[in-house]
Symmetry: C2
Subunit: 571 residues, 2 copies
């Protein structure tokens, strides 16, 4: 369990400060994460990695010459927000474009995609290569749906080394994609981890048992067995990984890099005992082992587990894998000394000002801020349960992400309302803050929803039933366009659509806003219960969770909770 923290809410900021203080030889802090503190001899394509925190040395520990140029750091097990990914990319950019590369998780995909869009709009060429090495997270015919785990390292390293050689963005993208195509990982777990300030572990594995294929955030695996011997585990790893030789590789005589990764509390000596057999089996299978790594490269706090990754080399990949690198947590060969850049001062946040608002809209703004505060309270109480629900099928970050996001959103709304903003501006501010602080899938979706809602309301007109229906419809359209899910996909949409439909129909038929909202909330609640049941069934079936874009399963549950809380306040 995680024992050492101050305020759990400050954990990300404080770990970032500590990391920067400890690692100034390699990194410096920028809003949203870290970038190199050293200057490249010649401008390079910037390789920007990132993801949730709690996986050190992924991601900030891999920033430095020969590896990544920057890391966008999300909250614990939650993707960085769009703002964070954008900010880090801007700071890392050396004028030759940006490659985003990160593990394939819904929240990361949404946020980095939005940041990519923004960078392109600003004239910075940007590409994305997802890491999809986890063989158990989707079958081989849906390989692009697979999650990224410890194979992050090979893709990041290859991309970083190519950038270091001076390759252009096309080539860095191509070789990173090629490295991902040549990388496969197989993970197991023996026990979960407990996030800072939480009393319950995010997930558990029964004592004496091993979850096969379990993800680094507790995403369900495909099987559970008794804990095997070290040799039997090595056999399991190697035999399965050798069944899936990437296209274009001749197995006999192939050169491979094995990476045996400990997730936190499976320690070095145990890993070496396992590696002893891995090495033997790979050689017996006629492979040539090149520059292996045994250690901790992608952890999940003190989760008990490990994974074996194979990178199937060709000439280019071998040259790039063995090229020098110098980062806080991964060093190899000799990197020529680099000039340190002077740390630029972070710009002081400008005083916020808001446009003209009507007195009526200002009054509604105060009311909206108060409603968001109440909703934040409900989410706060339910956060652990939401996290557990998410851990059944996803990465367990939904509870903590919602909690941070709505808290930040409510605080921003309150400040804006106190500063005299109208209803629309208050909601836009809340959406910005939610997206930035909440991160993950829920952060970006709720951010977009509130912004659309606010934009529709504006700061002038009265916030009446018709205006609310129009704004809610806008918000629904935005989230459906963005997340690409429809009703029945077991996402938030399953609650949002009937909610908005009911709200609109009831207002149309003459009910008051509070009556209509109350009814709509009941409908949403029923949809959420259906989702929760499906999630529970999914957990029982222990099928491996599909994690395509737009399927953050407990989204309907938290939406209904917020809708119901607001209904209670309105009635």
């Amino acid at each position: 369990m995680t024992r050492l923290f101050n305020e759990p809410d400050d954990f990300l900021d404080e770990l970032t400060e500590g990391l920067i203080a400890a690692s100034g030889r390699w990194v410096r802090g920028v809003p949203g994460g870290v970038v190199r503190s050293t200057r490249s001899p010649e401008p390079q394509v910037a390789v920007v990695v990132g993801g949730g925190s709690g996986h050190y040395p992924a991601f900030a520990g891999l920033v430095g010459p020969g590896l990544a140029h920057g890391a966008a750091m999300g909250n614990l097990f939650a993707s960085p927000s769009t703002q964070r990914a954008h900010s880090v990319a801007k700071a890392a950019n050396e004028g030759r474009g940006v490659l985003f590369t990160f593990g394939n998780y819904a929240g990361d995909v949404l946020n980095f995609a939005a940041a990519e869009e923004q960078l392109r709009a600003e004239g910075i060429d940007c590409r994305t290569v997802l890491v999809t090495d986890d063989i158990w997270s989707a079958p081989v015919d849906e390989i692009s749906k697979r999650r990224g785990i410890a194979g992050d390292l090979t893709v990041f390293k290859i991309a970083g080394a190519a950038a270091e050689e001076g390759a252009d963005l096309d080539e860095v993208e191509r070789i990173a994609r090629h490295a991902n195509d040549r990388t496969r990982s197989f993970g197991v777990a023996f026990d979960g981890c407990t996030l800072p300030g939480k009393s319950e572990p995010l997930f558990t594995v029964p004592a004496g048992r091993m979850a096969v294929g379990l993800g680094i955030h507790g995403e369900p695996g495909i099987d559970e067995t008794a804990v095997p011997t070290a040799a039997a585990l090595a056999e399991l790893f190697v035999s399965r990984l050798l069944e899936e030789v990437p296209a274009g590789v001749e197995k006999q005589g192939a050169r491979v890099v094995p990476i045996l990764n400990g997730l936190g509390s499976v320690k070095y000596e145990e890993l070496f005992v396992v590696y002893r057999t891995v090495d033997k089996l790979l050689k017996e299978a006629g492979l040539v082992v090149v520059d292996p790594e045994v250690g901790e490269f992608c952890t999940s706090f003190d989760m008990a587990g490990c994974s074996l990754t194979l990178l199937w080399l060709d000439e280019d990949l071998e040259r790039l894998w063995t090229a020098p690198a110098d980062t806080p947590a991964f060093r190899r060969g000799s990197v020529t000394a680099r000039e340190q850049v002077s740390v630029s001062e972070t710009e002081a946040a400008a005083e916020k000002t808001y446009g003209q608002a009507s007195a009526e809209s200002q009054e509604s703004a105060g009311r909206i801020a108060a409603l968001l505060g109440s909703a934040a309270g409900s989410i706060d109480s339910a956060a652990d349960e939401l996290g557990r629900l998410d851990a059944v099928a996803g990465d367990g970050d939904h509870g903590i992400g919602m909690q941070r996001g709505i808290k930040a959103g409510a605080a921003a709304a309150r400040s804006a309302a106190e500063a005299g903003a109208g209803a629309g501006s208050v909601l836009i501010e809340a959406g910005d803050a939610w997206s930035d602080q909440g991160g993950g899938t829920s952060g970006v979706i709720w951010g977009r929803m509130l912004q659309a809602f606010g934009k529709s309301l504006g700061d002038e007109k009265p916030v009446d039933a018709a205006a609310v229906v129009a704004a809610a419809s806008e918000a629904r359209d935005v989230v459906m366009g963005f997340g690409k899910a429809t009703v029945g996909d077991k996402t938030m949409i399953d609650a949002v659509v009937p909610f908005v439909d009911t709200l609109a129909a009831d207002v149309q038929s003459g009910l008051s806003l509070s009556e209509a909202w109350g009814h709509a909330a009941q409908v949403a609640d029923q949809a959420a219960r259906d989702t929760a049941q499906l999630v529970a069934k999914l957990g029982r079936a222990r099928s491996h969770g599909e994690r395509s874009v737009g399927t953050p399963d407990p989204g309907a549950v938290s939406f209904a909770l917020i809708a119901t809380t607001v209904a209670g306040e309105l009635s």
Copy 2:
């Protein structure tokens, strides 16, 4: 807990094989541990480190250019045997002498001292610098009694860097001693670890509590508190360490290297949150922070704990600390490429032959081997209890060390007896094997005792009561001369001396050997009970365990157990 292993007895050999397979770029295996796989450009003083296994990257992970030249690897939490330390030093030696440096634990001190003696006899100059950084293991006026914990790293690094610069043995010894004088550490723990194949943890800390000053093998600390916040822990670390500024250091403006070390399952993010405050407090105290390290440098499997080390620099120490190094687990700066040495074949063990033995002595030899086998069975059953007893005041390795040692000793005795060796040779063989396989304090002491016993008996004369009394007296004299303890020091001597006295007196007064042995065993057993009571009292008082040479507290208990088992067989 440790989950991944095959046969627990094979753990050390298998982890060593895996480590060598994974780390061939830096190390190669030799009997007893590893040495560099690279050739020095010019011959250097060989810095040989070592200790029990279970602390990776200490010790084998720190072998490579700019750091150690070899690591003698003992069994889990048990010192390497004399034979192992000697073998690694011989292989690491580049013709300019050997510096042994390791943490100050009784077993390591005894075994490395014996190896040093042997090296000198062979014409290889050898020195020893003990690491004594753990401020809670003895008061400042008994500073040389302190244990070595994560501060190992600074001493090893400074010594290795000096050797790399071409310094001679006098200078490498001097600077290593100086580095140790300038190094202080403070450790805490939240939970213990369970060794491979054991069902019980070596020690525990109550949930929600923090043991202050607890050693890396569970040696008792000085206090127990509630788990503090990360900031409060940083404050505790820094305030106490700043109270003990080494002689000759002007605190204001001093340059220090902080090393925040995780012991296994206190993970990187938590360490960074703690480090954030450490960094701030050091700077507030007017110190200059140089090249800090935050990570895992000396672990204890998945023990939950961490420590802060401060190395107080001067110009030489700073130059040596920041010099390049390239080892499996610690890299810094740029090391010029080194030629790999070809791995020499390990010589096949020569077929053992024994001198002429009388038929009578051969018969006794078989009987002695059988007695050792029975005693091994008793120790095997009691091993967990002996380990727990040792963990009260020591490092908890007594049970596992005795178990492995006597098992190996009994097996060697049986082989020798079957090959026709006489009683003396059988005991000498048993002693060799015990010392080599048991390691630790008990291994070296029992090895010496059996060898003395065997030498006295010889292979010709009958093994009668008089011969046994003479041999037992020899064995007693050797162990007293070697361990430098006397009756009343709460060591094995407390049981050995009355045992031999009683045996001698009873035989003198005409009792049979079996009667006399039975009586002597009773006397030894009483002495052992007294020791065990004192140990228990020590545990209750939670005073910090004195760990000077020759005080392996449960030694009397295991001695009495063996004596009593033999008495049962003889009667």
